[in-house]
Amino acid sequence: MKLEEVTDSSPISGVSRRDFLKFCSMMAAAMGLPGMGAQIAEAVTVQKRPPVLWLSAQECTGCTESLLRTNHPSLERLILELISLEYHETLLVGSGKQAEEWREKSMQENKGKYILVVDGSIPVKDNGIYCKIGGKTALTLLEEMASQAAAVIAIGSCASWGGIPASDPNPTGATAVHEIFKSKGIKTPCVNIPGCPPNPYNFLSTVLYFLTFKKLPELDEQARPKFAYGRLIHENCERRPHFDAGRFALQFGDDGHRKGYCLYKLGCKGPETFNNCPIQLFNDVGSGAWPVGTGGPCFGCSEMGIGFTKPIHSPASPKYFTPPSILPRIDEKRGHGLTIAGVAVAAGIAGAALGAGAVTAKKLGKDDEEQGKSGSREK
């Protein structure tokens, strides 16, 4: 095969087919779908570029920035050339009347077929006057645009559960997209990709999944894709061994902080925040490129009731104790025959004293038996 042919068969100009397939395989792996890379590549190559309309409400553009920062292989190009971005306030060339006319035209032409992405919360107080675009409130625009969309993706914490604008005392009545759907009776399926900002690959994986399989990925009870939000940050944190061994940074800049110890006592919310930050990382610059990796405690930006709600310096309440998924099982299936040292690690109690180990062993054995009966918690 000639080189030109290989290059030509990639749907994106300037990106080789090899790089394109590599990207699709990576997306498939992120979604827990090994071997599906080729199918994703086919789905996005064969089809007409799907129209995407992007509505910005009470937002800071951080979600868009996050999306444009990814760069292998030139992801902004991938987004702009794989999908047909019909309307996006920050990226549109036209302004004012031109922009709004194009939005209306595109909505009419692609009725029932377009994906609507929403970033930012929707203010409802005082008839929604706290966010207006082209003279219309974000509330009116969302109703108009969402009822005619094939699917809606709420990107970022503001759109997913209210985020910063909805923080107490919520001066503008900032409301999450799915709550507006409930009150207005809009039935369009809606996925939440929370985070401040969220990882762009979680967003892109969701879009590619929808294009490939014509349905939304498996979602949890908060409508978040399970492949990204199925596990606690704490479960996959590279500092987890320090937590298990009771080695903590106690102050910013102290000896433990400089040695990369666990940030739990500085208020890290990893033990109660569901996200894949430690695995997916940010900005494609290699290991350690995520908040905890750089020495900053997680503040739970993606978790409703934690981020922008719970003070940074108050300790997290660990949800449950499991070993990180990257480690092999260290406990017996039925919870018998555990060594005390093994339990101290598995239980992950902060600085677990050996004396407390026996009590923990009993509890852990019970939990595991129950878990064995009902099948594994989640995958």
């Binding site: 800071c60 990226l91 604008p165």
Partner: protein, 63 residues
């Protein structure tokens, strides 16, 4: 006779901006710019732990 032009939204910027111009005889005689979105972060900050302030204020603008 003065003519008024409104450009809303102004694109390729962060946030929601509206510009109103008054034009008379081919010249702009008056102009107004107005932010079309308000979150009230100043009000949200009141009464919080000062060490939490940065997570709010740095999100005024994500660009």
């Amino acid at each position: 006779m003065a003519k008024r032009i409104t450009i809303d939204p102004i694109t390729r910027i962060e946030g929601h901006l509206r510009i109103d111009c008054e034009i008379d005889g081919g010249k702009v005689t008056n102009a107004w710019s107005s932010g079309q979105m308000w979150r009230g972060i100043e009000n949200i900050l009141q009464g919080r732990d000062p060490r939490d302030a940065w997570i709010f204020t740095q999100r005024f603008c994500g660009v």
